[in-house]
Assembly symmetry: D2
Homo-oligomer: 229 residues x 4
């Protein structure tokens, strides 16, 4: 697999209050505008509760998680197949705030791919990323958990985690790597691209912004410029 | 608290394939018809993924689960407050297939009530039911897990679990008790009402039925007759 | 069941460094001396790792936990039956730092009793305590988790948790209740007895004491005086 | 790192009834005899409950698990440091029956190594093994969980899991790989060595044997012959 055509801005909506209701729908519409005008792929990683309804507004919606189950007698758990049935495009798995054991990640990835979903798998470290590269995932996001939500950008504070993950993943298979944790502005995002990543995974920077659309635009434009260099 | 005005048919949709997509929406419409024509309260206990969208079709939708978190940096977890924001009426907690430790049940019940949601809490045994009665829940469903999905109705095979739960709950506080596990037909549902329960919690009987609406109607009508006796 | 003959001082050794090696063996010998000279029952609640070896030094040793499994293909899990086979007298279950779902507590209590072990079950609140009273446990310890390790004694800061638990448990069955959380001195322990509890469950007060034996003696003597009043 | 001097027979005692009490002590003595007479390293992977006391009988004892905690206020959890303090030589982590998330495995491995313990980490698949090879572990055991306890030997039924794991691990770092799952006799063990593994991890074959010492001897002698070839 060669280089992606365009960089990726993945926005993890988490469970912030801005991730639900009308504000979430506004965000979905804004994501569409930012994506169209910047040429950057904007993936909204939505709560399970509104992933399907946001997918009806904006095409590029992932769910934040799926459980290692198929269709059946499971209460309050979400099979990846169900995401596909409800029109969601992809699924994020193994986020730092929702870790699973290796075998369960494998199980979810397998059923997600079988159902035609894209998969973004998260790793804390290069070692964890290497293990994930053995699976049929579309993206690997690397986020040192100690930087998540701090505003201290991984691309500046721990660039070796990004480059280490890129190298570790490449030893196994070419999978686009996103960088995450502490990324708050365009400069951090551009730096992540310059280090070789295919984009960034952000959360609070957008979800807690006074103007989320401007923030997405800032991040996307900076990555777009760095990508063309 | 006195007796409820009408019995309750709670349908746990689980993660059966019939719980998603168009078939789920059909079920929501059917629930409305059954409820109107029989006078029985029909609660649809929906997957997180479509609880909100089903709530837009049918007013009496609960989510199958909520997590012990508030709004914030939680990925793939569902705060009870978010259910309220997305128009869902209530939440089921502590189902046999999604147990939580006591403290987490308390946490979810508390935030659900604060957000104006109704709460249906599940217990395996009279002892577990007694503990739940200390919380501000609206219903307690008792289901011996060894009978779930078996087609062996609790109301016949283990009536003492229902009467034991009724007695254990009453020692603490008057909370309507639903009976569940193995209930497949009207006769089982009527028997549950005769034993003193306020209704039933069913899953496979409806979700795997060739004609779910007829099955809901059969259960509702039988309870309605038993209720008036 | 009437009143116990003598109050109980249960010492949860936790995983403090003083809970292992020679210091743990010293503690076991000291517990024997304190118990003999004060007439208070001193239960040492030991780590899984040395519960058996401490039981060879001092007769009144409980393990801190057992898992809901029997003998069999379980790796790194501890069946209650194994505790009995290794000479341990009892087991603590459901401690605030090691909560289990209700059904698993039931499973452990059942196999512990079958194996001839005593059981001390822990609750955060009166409601949780009521649920545990349905099981065949020998003691229920109530500890508001927000006070554990704080040095703010439950017997002064939240006496209503103790009296509430006593009342909630009594509604179900007479089980001796121990009070815990924040108890650091004799006065707190005496107060717990005066409120109607059968003793106390302590941890850091003893395990982090410069002289654990003196601390155990102080707590035991104060309870002994309050008990005779 | 070059090749080990001698092959390894690791015996996971699990929680079989033969893993406790006098039978466990007999096994420890037998392990010593087999190790001396065959020249094969025999590691007994013991329950937490008697790891320390078996370590007093036989020098080569590992614990079956340690928890991702240090010394402190943890109840019923086992810090790796405590194993060292109690004279245990090593620790097995992430066994198929006791999986942890990646980050917790890292945490245990780190504190185990700091405490001077050896570490045997388990993987289900080559991908999981690759991730573990990024950590400072001494052995990686690969066991396809679907074969554990079946008597269908991995070395015959799924040799590609062993060779795949060897290759995946080697891409990261040279770590001796043990093969496990379904190995019941000398021929299976010899085959595992011929495939390039440094030995085997067995459980039921020894623990359920009428004569565990003979079984250990059979496995050890077969590996010893294959090793010298």
């Amino acid at each position: 697999m060669g280089r992606l055509e365009r960089p990726v801005l993945a926005v993890n909506m988490k469970a912030y209050d801005s991730a639900f209701g009308e504000r979430a729908r506004d965000l979905a519409r804004a994501a569409g505008r930012v994506s169209s005008s910047t040429g950057v792929r904007v993936i909204l990683v939505a709560p399970l509760l509104n992933a399907a309804s946001l997918a009806a507004i904006y095409e590029d919606v992932y769910a934040q998680h799926a459980d290692p189950v198929g269709f059946g007698a499971y209460t309050g758990f979400t099979p990846a197949e169900a995401l596909a049935l409800e029109g969601v495009r992809g699924v994020m798995v193994n986020h730092s705030e929702h870790k699973m054991i290796y075998r369960d990640v494998e199980r979810v990835v397998e059923s997600a791919k079988k159902a035609g979903l894209e998969v973004l798998a998260c790793a804390d470290t290069p070692g964890e990323a290497a293990g994930l590269a053995f699976m049929r995932v579309d993206f690997i996001a690397v986020e040192p958990p100690e930087l998540i939500g701090t505003g201290i950008p991984v691309s500046k504070a721990k660039p070796e985690v990004i480059t280490g993950a890129l190298e570790a993943v490449r030893r196994v298979r070419e999978v686009p790597v996103l960088a995450g944790a502490g990324i708050t502005g365009g400069e951090d995002a551009a730096r992540a691209v310059e280090l070789g990543s295919a984009g960034v995974l952000v959360a609070s920077a957008v979800m807690k912004a006074a103007d989320p659309e401007s923030k997405m635009r800032e991040l996307a434009e900076a990555m777009s410029r760095a990508w063309r260099r």
